[in-house]
Symmetry: C2
């Protein structure tokens, strides 16, 4: 009997925003695996800390890089592919030994989650179960006090890596928008939001639901470089009032 791969979303950051199921699966899995940036404790691991037992085997997988290379750089695809291959092989040894694995993932696993690349590689050969989580963007719009989408609003989730003209076009076509992965793209995003006439509604959120979160109008964010996981939120406006 091989083990089951549980891919577990741990939510946006506040440990209390994990689901009951995530807490149970983490507490009962003999192996807990997670990604982390080199030299860091691992954000998903920190969120799950209260539920990881003392006897649990922990597997930390360190990203070869995070934001140093552009995702469209061929070296990014090649290196990350190799990293996910090696990670999948390590997880497979535990599954082959009949041990269940809980692979932690910030937010919701199937929404821009790294864990998908492991699911893609292992899901066909091993029993797997995904535990959805509260997304980072839900955590951010909640903390910003911004009801995002009403009634028949269209929501666009846009990566900040897009070209400025493309961002403007897409912002103009939707009611509500989330612009993700800001990092060094903030000046371009600021310009696109302004050209789309949306600066008055745009809110910047960094580390939403965490102790050191920052929420402020985009117009008041002066710096040009911000964390990769910071967001800009543009709430929709429709619905009965």
């Amino acid at each position: 009997m091989t083990g089951t791969l549980h891919v577990v979303g741990v939510g946006p950051g506040d440990p209390e925003l994990m689901t009951l199921k995530a807490a149970r699966v983490i507490a009962t899995s003999p192996v807990v695996a997670f990604f982390r940036k080199r030299g860091r404790p691992g954000h998903a691991r920190s969120i799950a800390a209260a539920h990881v037992g003392a006897e649990t085997e922990e597997l930390a997988f360190e990203y070869p890089f995070t934001t140093e290379l552009d995702v469209r750089d061929p070296r990014y695809l090649a290196e990350m592919g190799g990293f996910y291959e090696a990670t999948a092989r390590t997880l497979a040894t535990r599954l082959d030994a009949g041990r269940d694995v809980a692979l932690l993932c910030e937010g919701d696993p199937f929404f821009y989650g790294s864990a998908m690349y492991l699911f893609d590689r292992l899901g066909a050969d091993y029993r797997s179960e995904i535990v959805p989580g509260v997304t980072g963007m839900s955590g951010c719009w909640t903390r910003a006090g911004l009801p995002m989408t009403h009634g028949d609003d269209v929501l666009a989730v846009l990566p900040a890596t897009m070209d400025e003209d493309d961002l403007v076009t897409r912002l103009a076509a939707c009611d509500a928008a989330v612009i993700m992965k800001l990092g060094r793209n903030l000046p371009k995003v600021r310009a696109a939001v302004e050209r789309a006439g949306l600066t008055g509604r745009a809110v910047y959120v960094e580390r939403g639901t965490m102790a050191d979160e920052i929420v402020r109008p985009l117009a008041e964010v002066a710096k040009d470089r911000v964390p990769y996981f910071a967001l800009v939120l543009i709430p929709g406006r429709r619905g009965p009032r």
Copy 2:
């Protein structure tokens, strides 16, 4: 001292997909309020059942209608507005008496949630706290086994009420899409997905994470009328492989 309004997302349907925080807030609130369709127990109330104490005061608010009127019908806006006004007044009496209220909401409150209309009316006058939840769409793509968005994918969340041509245009412009609120709009959505060349990737999900969920390729769904909360999911394709 007036009470606090907690707007609590209870997730997509499986009671174990509530957050730890939602469970705690529901269990400790002297008043639990929820919406329901006339003559039904209330879906959010059912999800939260294990956490509602025997001494808790329960307030059920019955929608004057659900899908009988189009949201663009002026009578819809007027009647729903009156309903939310009356509901807000009832909640205010409890808050004025110093009692905390947990207002339950399926999915995530600020993502197409009816509870936003109460927050809009009461949030300025009373302390309020929102508890985000796992969205219905996350529950659906999880159960469908569909990693939705990778890397720099653009995701569009589209209401099925849109015109067919508009749907086709927007489907062509994104990598991944969720088409919500299918109901009687399924034939139009099926045609739009086909015209956008996406039928091969489109998956239909009804009542995702619940005991009676249905997941199947859109191409195999023959009927023309389905539940209002059923979804079509079109996963993105990018990212390192």
